[in-house]
């Protein structure tokens, strides 16, 4: 047996966006075992939501769980609170929530792709992808008022309406983005250097994805067709606005890139359909009720299934709020998928997981 070395990455490392620690046991540059630590930024948000804040304020608190998928958290919480209050929100509010979730998915997927390129040693592609991503941040600011951490979904509906000129601007800028997306697709798909780095790296099989309960693009890249947008028709009408399941089969970094890029086309179509068919109605359902009983909600955040559990006791303060972020489901698979890969591929593999530690540790 060759000599084994232990090599740590993180919690502070140039290739990591967030505090995350992997300890690799390597043998001749090959990773044979991985230990992971993902809990450097625990902030006690669940405890705060059940002690310091009233249930209507909690949507603003959970919006701070994550900067990138803030809308997923506020929407999932609002939905679970609405279940406890037994109210139905107006149709326009449902459509506007879907619109912002898809705009958010565009910027989140492009951020992940850019970091895969950077960690694969392709600095120019990182900058190009980030440059093309900027339009989605500007649109989110126009719709929600903030580039990140948008308090758009609130209990009962949404906080802002979509102005006609903003809707027009979204349509125009999406049209301009499509050729840019085609260009990115061509590079990520066909660039020889990038494919050498990404094909076969960090691969998991569909069976492993099932066994390890993987979610999001990580699972879909391995051929496991799981997407909550395909499942929870009762809360948001995804199929009505053109949702389509995207899967690949090879389960490697390359396949994850392809899933994210192909999902961007779906997001564009969904946004266009929402704007073209945006129903007229109120934005919020008012109620004076207090949350009672227990309920769960699942929502497809950019990284996968987000799960909220809430229990109310007919008071302003919730009895319990549980948040399960997508990365939490992928921790077990993240550690396993390194095995057999070159240590040098680890940064690109980590970026392709798109881990969000502020969500996971919350």
């Amino acid at each position: 047996m060759a000599k084994q070395y232990e090599i740590p990455i993180g919690a502070q490392h140039i290739s990591l966006l967030e505090p995350l620690h992997f300890k690799f046991t390597t043998e001749n540059e090959k990773i044979v075992k991985t230990d992971a630590n993902v809990y450097y930024v625990h902030r006690g948000i669940e405890q705060a939501c059940c002690s310091k804040f009233k249930f209507r304020q909690v949507s603003f608190v959970v919006g701070r769980v994550c900067g990138l998928c803030s809308i997923s958290h506020t929407t999932a919480y609002s939905q679970v609170a609405e279940k406890l209050l037994k109210i139905e929100i107006p149709l326009r509010a449902k459509y506007l929530r879907m619109l912002v979730i898809e705009l958010d998915r565009i910027h989140s997927h492009l951020l992940c792709l850019s970091h895969v390129a950077e960690n694969s040693g392709f600095e120019a592609l990182f900058m190009k992808t980030m440059q093309y991503r900027e339009f989605s941040m500007e649109l989110l600011e126009a719709v929600c008022g903030n580039r990140i951490q948008y308090d758009f979904s609130i209990v009962g509906g949404v906080a802002r309406d979509l102005k006609p000129q903003v809707a027009q601007s979204i349509m125009e800028r999406l049209k301009k983005f499509i050729p840019q997306l085609d260009e990115l697709m061509d590079i990520y798909k066909n660039n020889w250097t990038l494919s050498l780095k990404n094909k076969g790296a960090g691969a998991i099989t569909k069976e492993d994805a099932m066994r390890l309960n993987v979610v999001g693009p990580f699972a879909r890249a391995a051929g496991l067709a799981v997407d909550v947008r395909n499942e929870t028709e009762d809360l948001l009408p995804w199929k009505e606005v053109g949702f389509e399941m995207i899967t690949e089969t090879s389960g490697d970094v390359y396949a994850r890139n392809m899933v994210r890029l192909r999902e961007l086309y779906v997001s564009i179509r969904i946004i266009e359909n929402i704007i073209n068919g945006l129903p007229e109605s109120a934005l919020i359902t008012e109620t004076k009720a207090f949350p009672d009983g227990e309920a769960t909600v699942r929502l497809e955040a950019p990284r996968g299934e987000l799960f909220y559990y809430a229990k109310g006791n007919k008071t302003q303060i919730l009895e319990r709020l549980k948040i399960k972020a997508p990365t939490f489901s992928n921790v077990a698979a993240m550690a396993e998928a390194f095995t057999g890969n070159e240590y040098g591929s680890a940064p690109a593999i980590i970026a392709s997981y798109d881990p969000c530690l502020s969500c996971t540790a919350r």
């Binding site: 405890q47 099932m210 066994r211 309960n213 799981v226 319990r320």
Partner: protein, 113 residues
């Protein structure tokens, strides 16, 4: 959400009979402090019946050691380790210190007496 009550003695048997990796998706474990007892929950969804959330639950006293299901659901160790730290409950073969530092106050999600 469909809730199925189980007991500490029957937990592993019930979950082993229910869980098939190609059919069910394990989401997370949760616990709710009810005062004298703690309600421990295991959440699953079903690939074939997507809108259904299944919750196995059992009521235990805080001192009870809960059996680990990681030999049935491989990825459950993450959720078990999280609950041990945040709820200060005992889970078979699970040490403290995954989420919080080992010397941090135990069970921040438990109700203060």
């Amino acid at each position: 959400m469909k809730k199925i009550e189980t007991t500490i003695e029957n937990l592993k048997k019930d979950i082993a009979a229910f869980y098939k990796p190609e059919l069910q998706h394990f989401m997370v474990m949760n616990a709710v402090d009810l005062g004298e007892k703690i309600e421990v929950q295991w959440f699953f969804s079903n690939y074939a019946h997507p809108c259904e959330t299944i919750c196995f639950y059992t009521l235990v006293s805080p001192e009870t050691e809960i059996p680990s299901i990681r030999d049935i659901v491989v990825s459950a160790w993450v959720a078990e380790a999280e609950l041990v730290d945040l709820m200060n409950i005992k889970v078979e073969n699970t040490q403290k210190g995954f989420v919080l530092e080992p010397d941090f106050e135990s069970g921040p999600l438990r109700k203060k007496k």
